[in-house]
Symmetry: C2
Amino acid sequence: MANEWATFGADLHLEPHGPGLREGLMNALRDAVRSGRLAAGTRLPSSRSLAVDLGVARNTVADAYAELVAEGWLTARQGSGTRVARRSEPRTAPGQGRPPGRAAAVRSVAAPPPGKPTYNLSPGTPDLASFPRSEWLKASRKALLAAPDEAFGYGDPRGRIELRTVLAEYLARARGVYARPERIVLCAGFVHGLMLMGQVLRARGVRDVAVESYGLDVHWDLLARSGLRMPALPFDERGTCTQELGSGSDGLGAVGAVLMTPAHQFPTGGALQPDRRAAAVDWARSAGGLILEDDYDGEFRYDRQPVGALQGLDPERVVYLGTASKSLAPGLRIAWMVLPEQLVDEVAAAKGGVDWMSSAPDQLTFAEFLGSGAYDRHVRAMRLRYRRRRDQLVAAVAARSPETRISGIAAGLHAVLELPEGSEESVLRAAAFQGLALLGVNRFRHPTVPRTRDALVVGYGTPSDSAWAGALEALCRVLP
Amino acid sequence: MANEWATFGADLHLEPHGPGLREGLMNALRDAVRSGRLAAGTRLPSSRSLAVDLGVARNTVADAYAELVAEGWLTARQGSGTRVARRSEPRTAPGQGRPPGRAAAVRSVAAPPPGKPTYNLSPGTPDLASFPRSEWLKASRKALLAAPDEAFGYGDPRGRIELRTVLAEYLARARGVYARPERIVLCAGFVHGLMLMGQVLRARGVRDVAVESYGLDVHWDLLARSGLRMPALPFDERGTCTQELGSGSDGLGAVGAVLMTPAHQFPTGGALQPDRRAAAVDWARSAGGLILEDDYDGEFRYDRQPVGALQGLDPERVVYLGTASKSLAPGLRIAWMVLPEQLVDEVAAAKGGVDWMSSAPDQLTFAEFLGSGAYDRHVRAMRLRYRRRRDQLVAAVAARSPETRISGIAAGLHAVLELPEGSEESVLRAAAFQGLALLGVNRFRHPTVPRTRDALVVGYGTPSDSAWAGALEALCRVLP
């Protein structure tokens, strides 16, 4: 056995020292799978023997394996060891000649109560008081004084090359994204990117885009504006049922794409399970479909390293969409798409042949901010801060409302608090009465999905530090 | 006669001293006409008697009258004196129940020659080397450090109130626009604004939007994407024939809106004549139509004060679109719409209920830049610089190609050089061969408009100071 793997470590071309060892090993394994050097089904050496082979700690290998299992690259089963996951082969281009499916009318969900509340625990907005103004201004100064004159003119529809270059490096490192600058198209926020994808999919003849059972109506409305229909994928205790893609039930047989939040389902808060990640990619390959991966807050994970992006599993089948709206601020309107090669020109054309939307000074500033390491520092600092708040939330709920089950706490800026059946509306009313802005999980339920639970979606990232204690106290007062 | 006007000066509530006297008088007269205090057809006092009445120099009054005639508020005819222009009364809401007109297929015009030219005299881009980086950074610093936290969140679809407030003041003062902050909607450039207007018009049932004989195909394509058709208004030596609006010829009978560049026709360079301004407003009122006023470079006028915006003539019938792309830089993606009251909510809804596109830091920076006077200083400095270049262009053409007639030189960043019949393409080829990027007027001709002239559209604002002499020399070499 040791012999079988004698060259394995050497084949990975790995530098076995330094702080990035685990990530280096993960990247090397991803590359080996992607390139076919490690075929599907191949059994990997045990973490112990590979650790010996590489001369590294066993935990480093075990952690890397565990991450890659979570991301869907590998599978691990008791008694069968760790193997390269099986993938189906691609078939046709997405959405070509596909029959239309059943229409999914998009519900217009009621807005939160009017008037300015005292406290805000609505999900979706980071702590705006923590925006690093001085660091941002410093980056802006450096970037603008160094920029070539042409940067102030009409720009490349893909966005500034300075930003695409540093983003490619960052996304590969931090999110396991297979990114190259020429495959990145910058956009003025996730909504702009989704708008462009809606246009491109519709132009390709796609009629149906599957969405998750819980999500944002503003995204569904946007796709509907492009003339798309949005059947919902079922949802169970293990998350979105991607194995139902192409199953023919509920209009899912004809979908040309699926919009998902694999790293951290919004709003229910779980990570898509490895087999479900695999099922999504398998469907995309066999049906010629596309996965739109909404990685809105992938940087914020508390129990271990972030789950890598689904995109790495098949960069030709997954459109990766990331944003600075949660990690920095929504007011920046900075987001990015990493596209399958075949889509780059279509998306650039949909943008209009010129960058009509995104500010060049902001792109250059963000490039400097990212390239200088200020972004990593900011994300690390915010991760600690949000984690502390999450811990305080969990402790307060346990103390004040011990019956309340809390979930979705491993990542992101919000948690889900289960409520007794039928009590969601009354709790929300009580919160509004207290001046606390709060949303229930049914606010995010797809119109065709039956109501099965009552819960609060608590955005603990939203308040400023000074408002946090008061917001938490107001929340505890309305819990059953 | 003197008695008849005894209270006229007093009625204007005018402060008869200080540097803004001419503008104050113009604003007072506009207000009096708009409010009905000065009825259509009313004969105004002579400039001499009003000057005596107000205790100001006669030239001040004469200049104000001349400006208001140019803007279409007043008419002046030999022997009949200066009178308030006659306007028709509004009829119905725009585009309601209007039959569709003839389709105008939008031509895809060939792009300029590939490869990076040595010199660039293409119109449409200001001198990017003159972007005031330090002043901009200074404004950015001040604005970002002072901004409330919520500025970094998801914003009002109309844009930041700080910017709308200073813009309203600026547009009234500098462009004669009837602007209030609540009627302004900010957008990420003119193209974004036009995209929104296309959506709104189409949703209102408009099928046809008249455009000028010469213009930008990128704008026509954009309207076509919204499902609109674009019949062209005829063009003669006095400019765009707005009197043909609603005439029933060439699909013009059914138009619900017209897109125009009244202050400085792009690219032919003239200002719309007073009677043609009046005809456009009369049509809009009687037909219930809308005028989309593209005021792309209204600040740059060299022979006298800028011609005021058409919008002031009827703020309920004109959508005013302005931009920082020519006065500052296209890379900023900052533009604004001043809307008829009835359209504000529709345009905000078309933006998506949240400001999904425009960067809040840039909006705040521009508000500070404008409010501090830095914008006025920059525009004044650029006006002098562009004027000097224009003078050098005129002198060089006169010396090197005395047969070449030059027009459109009173304003803006480009001039039109007439060429002998049939020679436009060969001159453009010669320019490309010399490494000089240059465009002909037929590049901008609407697809249904017959070819009647050969000319170059020379963007003298485009080169940096260091490239200007070489660009001018290259141009002279290719002139007949």
